[in-house]
């Protein structure tokens, strides 16, 4: 009886020490799953998921938020998230229409220079000054849509990115065959 008690106590002690040591030694900084999720998100910072940016949404997913809230990422991102989180893929909340990469375009002759879009842009992709025409840096634009709403004169539109010779995807069937 005594032996058993002593033994169990000793065992508990030993394991306690081991666990404590392990907790110190192999301490995990931050939450690695959040980083992994964030790496999968498209970093548009568009907020369409309802969170202010991609990082907050990644944190929310890690805490059990649904994985289908990211329209810019499309179903590909959703599937990767499902894979990572070990949950069933679900259809996107938004329609998959946003699959084509789009960038904002300011119709410059209509722009009044109100700077509202500049303030709305989460990635500082719009340049311009008050009462002067603004323009979008197409290379930095994430196509998040956030600048469209604030524009008082509706001069911002989302244009699909055109293919050029360098980015052509070799879809031979897509070439229009002209009948001469």
């Amino acid at each position: 009886m005594l032996i058993a008690v002593v033994l169990l106590t000793l065992l508990a002690l030993v394991f306690g020490v081991v666990l404590g040591f392990a907790a110190e030694k192999f301490k995990v900084e931050g939450n690695p799953i959040v980083d992994q999720i964030e790496a999968l998100l498209p970093q548009t910072q568009c907020g369409q998921c309802g969170y202010p940016g991609c990082r907050p949404y990644a944190e929310a997913i890690a805490n059990g938020e649904k994985i289908n809230r990211c329209p810019p990422g499309g179903s590909a991102t959703m599937e990767k998230l499902a894979d990572l989180m070990g949950v069933e893929p679900e259809p996107l909340t938004a329609t998959a229409e946003t699959q084509v990469r789009k960038v904002a375009f300011i119709r410059e002759e209509e722009c009044i220079g109100c700077t509202k879009c500049i303030q709305a842009c989460p990635v500082d992709a719009i340049v311009g000054a008050g009462k002067l025409m603004h323009t979008v840096l197409a290379s930095a634009c994430t196509g998040c849509d956030l600048c469209v709403e604030p524009c008082p004169v509706d001069c911002i539109e989302m244009l699909p990115v055109k293919q050029d010779l360098r980015t052509w995807d070799w879809q031979l069937n897509a070439i229009p065959v002209k009948t001469l």
Binding site: L172, V177, K178, T179
Partner: protein, 349 residues
């Protein structure tokens, strides 16, 4: 005018899958003739039966999968599978045996995995193993070579035996009437003898052997070897798998035979018995279920060769080709994973 858009290259060797399969079948034809000459019409009937069933099964499945039927069955791959199964089962086996086997090969082993190119196992061998396990009696009673039998069985008699409703009864009458028509294969005989303490040399004196190999079997294997060499020449197959099989089998049996000739089968007999040659050139070389790279194929062949030797010598079945091929099929993806050719400009593969 409209100009046609196409992807490069714009020329093709014009050697289609169907042609390849057709040529392989042609290379195997002489062996079929020799087999019929030694074992009667049974083999031919089985082959034709198998081919018919295979085409029907493939067409049916294609219909069900809503794929182009003609386009698929015209690739001749089902014919080749049927041929290999047809020559592998006993010539006087009942008709339903080949029917079950072929249907299983095409429907389960091939099409359920996604059709040509997708199957993990060699369809003919998988079907053979199924039959061997499910119907051991029918699958192990081989016809004796005609030279060994007193009577040859006519074409009509053969048909009668195969399609008779009470097959076993009829076969028994024939078996009773024509002594020695069906018996164990030479490898089987030899194995039984070795187990009962008879030396190889003594066993080889039996009627079924011609002195150092099974009667008829030797010639059948020789024709398959010729057919295989023809395929190599036509570049229908590459040498790696066949060389692996034959090399490994030869080396294993040679070592054992050199160590104790009395209780071991000679390497030559190993090479010219049973399904060795048809297996090495026509079965193991099925590219779908084999490894991909050259070195991988050599290893793949060697695995088959070693397994054949091991099962023949120590296993429960006298001929082991089907098992060996299936086991090697399982390992093919693993081989492909580890043996990759070194790409140009890379230090390792």
């Amino acid at each position: 005018m409209a100009f046609k858009i196409a992807s490069s290259p714009h020329i093709n060797r014009q050697l289609q899958t169907s042609t390849v399969m057709q040529r392989v079948l042609l290379c195997a034809m002489p062996a079929l003739v020799v087999q019929c000459a030694f074992f009667g019409w049974g083999t031919l009937i089985q082959v034709i039966l198998a081919m018919t069933v295979a085409m029907c099964a493939e067409a049916l499945i294609m219909q069900l999968r809503q794929r182009p039927v003609i386009h698929t069955i015209s690739d001749n791959s089902a014919l080749l599978t049927a041929f290999l199964l047809g020559v592998a089962i006993p010539p006087l086996a009942p008709w339903w045996l080949i029917l079950i086997g072929t249907a299983f090969a095409i429907v389960i082993v091939k099409q359920l995995y996604g059709g040509l190119g997708q199957n993990l196992f060699n369809p003919a061998m998988a079907a053979y193993v199924l039959l061997l396990i499910a119907f051991p009696v029918q699958m192990t009673s081989w016809v004796a070579p005609i030279t060994a039998a007193q009577h040859s069985v006519s074409f009509l008699d053969t048909l009668h035996i195969i399609f008779s409703s009470s097959q076993i009864a009829v076969a028994d009458t024939y078996r009773l009437g024509i002594d020695g028509t069906t018996m164990a294969t030479p490898l089987d005989t030899l194995k039984t003898d070795l187990h009962s303490g008879i030396t190889t040399a003594d066993s080889l004196q039996k009627l079924i052997f011609n002195g150092w190999a099974g009667k008829g079997w030797f010639w059948v294997n020789l024709t398959y070897l010729a057919g295989g060499l023809m395929m190599l020449r036509l570049k229908l197959i590459r040498w790696h798998i066949s060389a692996g099989v034959l090399g490994a089998l030869f080396i294993c049996s040679a070592v054992a035979w050199a160590w104790e000739p009395l209780t071991h089968v000679s390497p030559l007999m190993q090479l010219f018995s049973g399904a060795t040659m048809v297996g090495a050139f026509f079965i193991a070389t099925d590219p779908v279920t084999a490894a991909t790279s050259n070195r991988g194929r050599l290893l793949f062949g060697a695995i088959i060769g070693v397994l054949v030797y091991l099962i023949r010598s120590f296993g429960g079945y006298p001929d082991a080709f089907a098992f060996a091929v299936l086991l090697a099929n399982i390992s093919a993806p693993l081989i492909d994973y580890y043996i990759k050719p070194r790409t140009y400009g890379h230090l390792r593969g």
